[in-house]
Symmetry: C2
Subunit: 343 residues, 2 copies
Amino acid sequence: MHRSTADLKTLALELGLSQSTVSRALRAHPGIPETTQRRVIAAAEAAGYRPNARARSLATGRAETIGLIFPLERLQLPETNFVDVLAGISTVVTRRNYSLLLSPFADDEAAVLRRLASTKAVDGVIITRPLVDDPRIALLNQLRLPFVVHGRSEVAEPYSFVDTDNDNAFERLTSLLLDYGHRRIVLVNGLAQFRYVDARAASFRRAFAARGLTPLPDAIEFVSMTEATGYETAMRRLAGPERPTAFLCGSVFQARGVYRALREHGLEVGRDISVVCHDDGVRGVSAADFTPPLTATSTSIRGAGEKLAATLIDLIERKVAEPLRTILPFELILRDSVALARP
Amino acid sequence: MHRSTADLKTLALELGLSQSTVSRALRAHPGIPETTQRRVIAAAEAAGYRPNARARSLATGRAETIGLIFPLERLQLPETNFVDVLAGISTVVTRRNYSLLLSPFADDEAAVLRRLASTKAVDGVIITRPLVDDPRIALLNQLRLPFVVHGRSEVAEPYSFVDTDNDNAFERLTSLLLDYGHRRIVLVNGLAQFRYVDARAASFRRAFAARGLTPLPDAIEFVSMTEATGYETAMRRLAGPERPTAFLCGSVFQARGVYRALREHGLEVGRDISVVCHDDGVRGVSAADFTPPLTATSTSIRGAGEKLAATLIDLIERKVAEPLRTILPFELILRDSVALARP
DNA sequence: GTGTATTGTGCAAGCGCTTGCATGGTAAGC
DNA sequence: GCTTACCATGCAAGCGCTTGCACAATACAC
C-alpha cells in the first residue's frame, strides 16, 4: 500500500512544496493558510507519512520520551506495588503522546542516570524509592535532566515529587488505635534507609506524643514489605514479653503475614487483637478482601503513577518553572479489624 | 565536574583529531592504532562523553531500542503473567545494551505498530497473545519492522516466535489423568480466540484419541484465566449432571479458583478429586505452594521473556536471516493433587 | 501610482553523529 | 632511488527533520 520510504523530501516533492512548508503545515504552524495545510495533511495521510522520530528529536532537542529508572528486581519480586505505579505512568504517557523508556539497572543507578542524560535518549526521568538523604537528586540537578521523584527525601536541593501523605496517614491510624484504648502497638514499618519509613515512624510517634503517651520502646519494626516478614514479625512479637494488642502495618503484604500469624495463634482479628494498615490499592490485594476486612488508610498508588508522569511532562514542556510538589490524599476506611483493647 | 556539552566536535578539537578518527576510535574500528584509541578513550572518559543517541541512530539507522506492544489493561489486571514476561525481556535488553520502549495501547494496536514503524523509534517489536489468525503478522511483515511473537498463530506468513510447548504439555497432563483412570475430565481452558487455547484443546483431545477414548462432550471450558472464573467454572461443573473426577487448568490462577470451589464442596484434592495444571512460573503463585501441592507442567514464562528479547535482537543484528522459532520445554512435576479416579 | 504591510513559501544551516573515499606520510620491495 | 603498499587520519556528505531569515507576490493605504 504505502511506500515505506515516505519521508519529508518525497512528500514535499509530490506536493510541489518545500520541505519547510510541508513541515510547518503538518504541525499547524501559524502563517500557513488553511487550504495549503489541508492539502498537505491529506497527502501525508495518503502516503502514511510520519516524521522520523530520530531526526525530529535531533532537530528539536526533544525526544518526547521519558524514562523510568528502577532496580531490575522490582519486576521480579512478587510483592511489589511497582507494577501499579507503572500502570499509572503508562496511562498518562500514552494519553499525552509520549513514549516510555524502561531503564532497569542491576547495580549502578548513577551510571544509568548519567548515560540517559548524556545520551539524550529521554527528556526526563522518574526515580523511585528515595533515601532519607538521596544522592540522585543532586546528581540529576547537576546533569540538568528534568526529573520527578516518587516520594520525598531530606535533601536541601530543589526537586519535584509526588508522595503519599505518610505524615498524616500513620498519625491517623495510630490515633485510631489509641482511641480504642491500645497502647502496646507495634508498627510494622519498612526498611530504615527509605525516607517514607522515617516519615511513618515520626508520624506514629507524633500520635502518641499528642496525648502525652509513649509507645513501647521497641514499638517500631524496620523490616521489608513482604508477607513473610509480616508473619515473622508478628510471630516474634506475640512470643515476646509484652504482647502487643494491636499491629499497624505499612503495607497489605505485611498485613497478610500478620493475619496469618494471628490466626495461627488462635487470635481473632477485630476481637482478640486489632490490626490496621496502609493500603496503596495494589492490584489484587485489597484490605477490603481480608477476613475480617481490614481497616486501612487508602490511597491509589496507580494514581501516584499517573501524577508522576503528568508532573514530569509538565516540567519538560515548561508549563511550569519551579519544582512541582504533590502530596496525595488518603482516606481512612473503617472496617472490622479493630476492637477495644483488652487489658 | 564535566561539561555537559560534551559532543564529538569538542572532544575531537581537544584531542587535535578529526571527528571521524575519534568516532572510529571510540567504536574500536579497525585501522585505528591502539595508542590513538587509548588516548581517545581516556579523553572521552574524562569528559564524560557519550554519543548522542538520537544523532547516532539517525546516522546509523539503528536505534538500539526495541518496543513491547501490549494492551494497557495487562498492567492493570492483578492476575497476569505479563509482568514476568516483562521482567525477562528487561533482563536481556539491559544485558545486551538495548533500551526497551513500552508501548501500551488502548484499542488500536495496528495504529501503534504503524506509528512505531514509520516513526523509526524502535528497531523491532515484540507482540504478544497472538490470535489463531493474527493480522498483525502480515502487517509487520509488510511494514518491514522486525518482530517476534510470544506464541504462535496459524497464518502462512513467515515469522519468528517463542512459544510454550502447549502441544505436548496438555497431552501429557491429560495422559497422566487418564493413567489414573479419570475419564470425566474438565479442561479449564482460556478464551477461544487465542491460538494457544486452540492448541491446548487439540492436545487434550489427542491424549484421549491416542487411547481410543472420548472426552465428555462439554469437556472443554473456554473461560478467562482468573481465579474467579476457575472457581465459577468448577462450581458449575460440580453442580452439573456428570460430575467430573478431575480438572485440568490452564493456569495457576484458575487452579486456585478450582481449589477453592472443591474445598467448599468438601472435596479433598488428591483424594476425592484430582487437579493438575500448567504452571508458567509466575512470581508468587507457584503450584508447589498449593495445599495440597499441585501436580503441574512447569515452564518459565520469564525465560520466555528472555528468549523473546534475545531472539529479536539477534534478528535485528542480522546474526540470522530467516525466522527463528523457539518452543520452550516444560517439565512435568508430580505432586499430591492426583488420585485414582473414584467410580 | 508609490510606499509599506502582509502573506505564502523557500533557502540553507544546523542538530551530532557515521562512513565512503581521499590523502599524505612512512615502510617495504627490488 | 623509485615504485608499491599500507597505515593513520581527515574531508565532506548525508541521515531526516526544524527553523531563522529572506524573498517574491499580493494587498492595503493614501
